[in-house]
Symmetry: C2
Subunit: 414 residues, 2 copies
């Protein structure tokens, strides 16, 4: 048995106890995590300081170091997030449907935990706590593998959480951290069949691709968003400007930010200068098609590759299209099926766009930035799925569960 | 572009039209399939005869040749199955939930087709029609890859179905058959990322394992069932005998048949001879643990491997256990999480078994043979999932869909 398989086995054993735990016990454990994180705050900040020293030695950028840094205040934020997970409804045990069949057997479809969830994630240590809390509440043991940049912080956080839940009466192994942060450990996790019920990679396109290519365990792809805003012929242009500025610039580094603006040819001449001006104020660089560049002088040309790129930056590709069908065709070709938006006053086009565009979330007259567990009312989220299997869009506690059929009989046979 | 990618692209293009088709059009197409299969029955039987000639040349067993054979009567059965799919409710467009958020955006979670479903299956040609009909009704284009044994039959069936749906007004490419039945074509399908939204292997454990090891597309594992019947200390022994005989022998070759009998030690001496006698009448061979063999003389010993084996035959492994916890531990170790049964009169044990046993379907006092789309009231099924992601247990039309969030706004931004 490899070290990773041993972790898998420990998680699996713990998962049986956790799956049978009621909400009261799980909530006690979650509040205990919050209490202990607060109490042992100095220990966490000391561990975090070691990560920061290493990061500086490795020449990490100030922005990245900022994301890595834990302060008392940030820890308070992490603790409130855990407390709010405790306050969410327990999804486990929900009855999803059922029937009494003609032969008298009674079938009850019941929500149950997945079992063991693996999560591979990158730098930020707050994810360690968030992910563990969501897994615990949904009745799942978790195996967490964070980035090497945060290994001291993550180890401290995981140990404190394990102590806290053990004190509360749950197996410490409900939360396991992979201490080996080599690429091999990630690869081994992807092939941990028989132990992991699902693997959720949280990170950049490279990580997601590696997981999809190599995993033998069931995977939920998350987080790549090449999102579009299409401005239709009769759109309210002030609304359209507000939406594209918001979708592009309110937080450009996230998956639900817009990457391409599509504009109907009949309003391009009026709308593009107005949008360009508003975007320029936010220092957005535009890349345009020929028709865009005929209207907006000095804009660099957009290549096919640009249209396929998730910039995650202050860069926006622009294209003038003939009509809503063209816009849909462009989106169908380049979209990662995350979040897509039409700005229009035309009923028929709004309906066509909603029906024809294949994405987790399709918007009429609202920013793509709303594709988010909190905004959708799910509370916290473990990620945003861009696949169609199991869960699509923001994944809250329910999306971290499966179901089983309980069948009650009196000796029925076929 | 490889031939397989070309098929993928054709399916994808067809899927956009099919996804937007209403139930009326899809049903017209399904009835047209039925009509054309009946009308062109001779053509199908002639093609099937070619498969049978080849099968005889290759020394296929009579039982297998029987499974491969199409007759007028069997074709009528296939046609009624298609007609009953047409009569089922269309799952597409169902509203699964939604909310108006505090900022006024209105979110409607709506059921939509997956897109393109790939199905790899083995000999029986009726699966070609069943699978195509279920995919069509659920709004999904399909790429079907059957076994080489049925290639003439499958080609005839697929061509007739394609003609029929084209006449009805849907793209013929909603139904595509992979004519290359080499192992390479199966492997290529498993890695057809960007075209297949899900791959469903229908076949033996070897096929499932190959798919899980090699696939880069999302997969739903189906059909391996190492199912158990546990007879508790105070079970109704007549009921227990009826259930184990039914679960083992009513159709031993299917995934919901029982493979291991677990018996509480306190009733083993009374129950085992009675069960053995009833099973002997059905020519079931027993393999037992030491305690079983002390009661039933002449029973061969069961190895750990036997307990892990899905016999799919008139063979049953038997083990005497100390109590319900031991039974659950055995099941946890060996089960493929398909269907598990307890026969008991003890309320507490029934509840414990239901809660602790991790399987798609958990039974009290009923045969495991009921884990089936028809028996569960789903109408036809595309397979029985043994994974936890997306769908668990029998998969009907609903399980062949995903959802998207439609979001209606009036210019909301974050």
């Amino acid at each position: 048995m490899t070290d990773m398989q041993k972790l898998g086995e420990r998680a699996k054993q713990a998962s049986y106890t956790l799956a049978a735990a009621n909400a009261g016990l799980k909530n006690t454990a979650l509040y205990a995590i919050g209490t202990q994180l607060t109490k042992r705050c100095d220990e966490i900040i000391a561990a975090n300081a070691e990560d920061i020293v290493a990061a500086r030695e490795n020449g990490m950028s100030d922005a990245m170091i900022d994301r890595l840094t834990l302060t008392k205040e940030r820890l308070n934020g992490i603790v409130s997030a855990v407390n709010s997970v405790a306050m969410m409804d327990d999804p486990v045990g929900e009855v999803l449907g059922g029937a009494t069949r003609p032969n008298g057997i009674r079938i009850v479809k019941t929500r149950v935990p997945m079992g063991v969830i693996g999560i591979i994630f990158e730098a930020r240590p707050n994810v360690t706590v968030d992910a563990a809390a969501l897994c615990l509440k949904s009745g799942n043991a978790c195996i967490l593998r964070g980035g090497k940049e945060a290994i001291y912080s993550n180890t401290a956080l995981a140990n404190i959480m394990r102590d806290a839940i053990a004190q509360a009466g749950l197996p410490a192994d409900c939360i396991l951290l992979v201490e080996d942060t080599s690429r091999e450990s990630a690869n081994e996790m992807m092939r941990l069949s028989g132990y992991l019920d699902v693997l959720i990679p949280r990170g950049g396109a490279g990580l997601i691709r590696a997981v999809v290519q190599n995993a033998t365990v069931p995977v939920i792809e998350t987080g790549t968003g090449n999102c579009h805003v299409y401005v239709d012929y009769n759109a309210d242009l002030t609304m359209a400007t507000d939406i594209i500025v918001n979708a592009k610039t309110q937080r450009p580094s996230v998956c639900n930010a817009a990457e391409t603006l599509l504009v109907h040819k009949d309003i391009a001449e009026k709308f593009l200068p107005q949008a360009a001006q508003a975007l320029a104020k936010k220092h957005v660089k535009l890349l345009g098609c020929e028709r865009t560049r005929a209207i907006l002088k000095g804009v660099a040309p957009a290549t096919q590759e640009d249209y396929a790129t998730e910039f995650l930056d202050y860069i926006l590709a622009v294209r003038v299209v003939d009509n809503v069908d063209d816009a849909i065709a462009h989106i169908t070709r380049y979209s990662t099926r995350h979040s897509e938006c039409i700005v229009t006053r035309d009923y028929e086009n709004s309906q066509k766009f909603m029906q024809r565009v294949d994405a987790a979330a399709v918007y009429v007259n609202a920013s793509t930035r709303f594709t988010d567990g909190g905004e959708f009312g799910f509370g916290a989220e473990i990620g945003i799925s861009t696949q169609k299997l199991h869960a699509r869009g923001p994944m809250g506690l329910r999306e971290m569960t499966t179901y089983k059929y309980l069948v009650y009989g009196e000796g029925q046979i076929r």
